[in-house]
């Protein structure tokens, strides 16, 4: 059994004349935190979406290895990919994108309820995760009543609560100040690699990338370099 949780090869994706991805190979090891960096428009988000089964690439394959075996993500139907995202993956976006009319705990519990867990138990798990992320006492607040950093932690709890084996984060600290950003990144790492899970994070922030175990650099839809933080490229 390979120690890669995700193996992508030959990924390419075009939008009209734009080659967002032009042949990307990437292997993500189980339990690592990998940062994807690069200029705006270099294809980071597109790569993340292909890895996570949100976007189907024009060419190339993405293999996902889980306890249940190995699946080739790009050949799955829309419905199967949706289910894979719901059950095996977690997501954190730049703006949190939580559901504004739900409370914090309901936002987290919803991820479990979508997988069929009864609500009471789902909320119990949700409370547990919120407490672990330093949000005890804020469970019943609506999202509008939380600060940006707090909302982002709710998003992290939502990404974690299902026991996702891989968490994908697209500029999770993009909207935060640097102190809050460091805290949120720490929370994200603690709840992923700290528990043996895998984190794939797109970021512009060198400090955020510096906390990961590996950094890949992108330019014009290709991976142009790979480095270990703290070691010169």
């Amino acid at each position: 059994m390979s120690s890669f949780v995700i193996e992508a090869s030959g990924l390419s994706k075009s939008f009209g004349q734009t080659h967002a991805l032009a042949g990307v190979d990437l292997q993500v090891r189980t339990g690592e935190a990998i940062a994807i960096m690069g200029a705006s428009g270099s294809g980071k988000t597109t790569l993340l979406h292909c890895l996570a089964g949100i976007t189907r690439p024009d060419a190339g394959t993405v293999d996902f290895q889980s306890g249940a075996g190995r699946v080739e993500v790009t050949s799955l139907s829309e419905r199967e990919r949706s289910r894979l995202r719901r059950e095996a993956y977690g997501f954190v976006f730049q703006q949190g994108l939580l559901i504004p009319e739900l409370t914090a705990v309901e936002n987290v519990a919803l991820a479990l309820m979508l997988n069929g867990m009864p609500r009471a138990r789902a909320e119990e798990y949700g409370r547990g995760w919120l407490a672990a992320l330093g949000l005890a006492g804020m469970e019943d607040r609506r999202i509008g009543q939380l600060s940006g950093g707090q909302a982002q932690r709710v998003a992290i709890a939502r990404a974690q609560v299902t026991g996702a084996s891989v968490v994908f984060a697209d500029e999770p600290t993009g909207a935060l100040d640097s102190a809050t950003s460091a805290e949120v990144m720490q929370a994200l790492l603690d709840s992923t690699t700290g528990q043996g899970r895998t984190l794939v994070v797109v970021t512009h922030d060198a400090d955020v990338a510096g906390r990961c175990s590996r950094i890949v650099d992108m330019r014009d839809g290709r991976i142009v370099g790979e480095r270990v933080p703290g070691v010169a490229a």
């Binding site: 719901r86 976006f93 994108l97 504004p100 009319e101 309820m113 979508l114 609500r119 009543q145």
Partner: protein, 438 residues
Amino acid sequence: MIARVAWLLARPGTSGAAASLLPVTAFAIVTALLLVVLGGAQSFWTWSDDIGVTYQALAVIALVLLVVPLASLGGAAARLSARRRDDRLATLRLLGATPATVSALAVLESVVLAAAGAIAGVVLYFLLVPLVALIPFRGEPLGVDGVLLGLPALAAVFAGVVLLAAASAVLGLRQVVISPLGVRTKQDAPKLHWLRIVIGVAVIAIAFLMMSVLQVAGSMLVIFAMLGLAFGGTIAVLNLIGPWVIRLVAQSQARRAKTPARLLAARSVLESPKAAWRQVSGVAMTSFMAVFAGTGIALLGSFGEAGDVESMQLFDDIRTGILITVIGSFLMVASSVGVNQAAGILDRGELYRSLDMLGMPTPTMDSARRRAVMSPLRITAIGSAVTAAIVMLPLTGAAIIVAPLSLAVIAGVLAAGIGVVWLGLLATKPMLERAAAG
């Protein structure tokens, strides 16, 4: 500058053609219905005999009943067209447009959409004229000449629709300027006071009493005034209590919800019970009319055998009038649900997209959205029908309300009302799917 940027805005956006087609269609329906009703009513004013006055009074009642759904549809259409350019507002600002330019553009766009819709509405009206001309009143078809409106009336309706759109756009814009992130920045769910219920019950009791003493009233005029007050008051009460009851029910639904769709639906109703009410209040009006119509028709039927030819004619015509009013308000309710839903989907496009990424199935999102409309709708329709029945009770007696004919008419109208709202939801499903797919 404005003209150039307006052209930029006019190109199909990320939200697809539906976003501009819907308000145009809605404005077209508003205009056409308004013209049809005015045209029909106009022909009543050619009669100058005694019974002609009764017809005119009834026509005014029908017009008043249609004004509420009409205004809410007009407002919804204007809100949608105002919201349509939200996604490009930021881009425009970046391009260096001042807030004043952006506001002017938003109003301009609403006005253009409304004008396009109003023109389509006038065309639709001309297409409908031959059909409307066939509707018999006082034993004869109205006739094309009777229904055809003059140029001043057409121009006035056109101007009215466009003005309504401009006014709503300005109002809608103020909200956007205050809170650019819309729902996302909302802090608290609004609260509604229990005092509403006390006032409501009091007004209904007064309406009940007025209807009980109606028979002893001296003149026809007093009877009309009391009828008007009782019905007007009850409708006002429905508006007062409706949102409150919807909130109560949604609260308990949110507590008990077991599936994601149910939880989402209940919470989104709680987010704004008033908006939920506004979306279905046209149906409240129609349910109210349904009871009125159902019992009225049964009552007229029971008078029927004894009546002279002229009264028989009047009863027939009242039935026709009720039917037209009910159909008209249903059309408007269905359109305003469609338009409101479209606006809601555009508002939450990014959220729907993210939920899709998280793996929430689109049918779950759709079912949440449907429930958030259908549940308040059921409460509203049934609640209004029951309230109307209570107020009618002294006038008609229980026997008439529960007569098979009344119940059949009431049930038929309610079912049709719920059906058209369902259609409005169905029509916007493709938009939701597109929003989720990104």
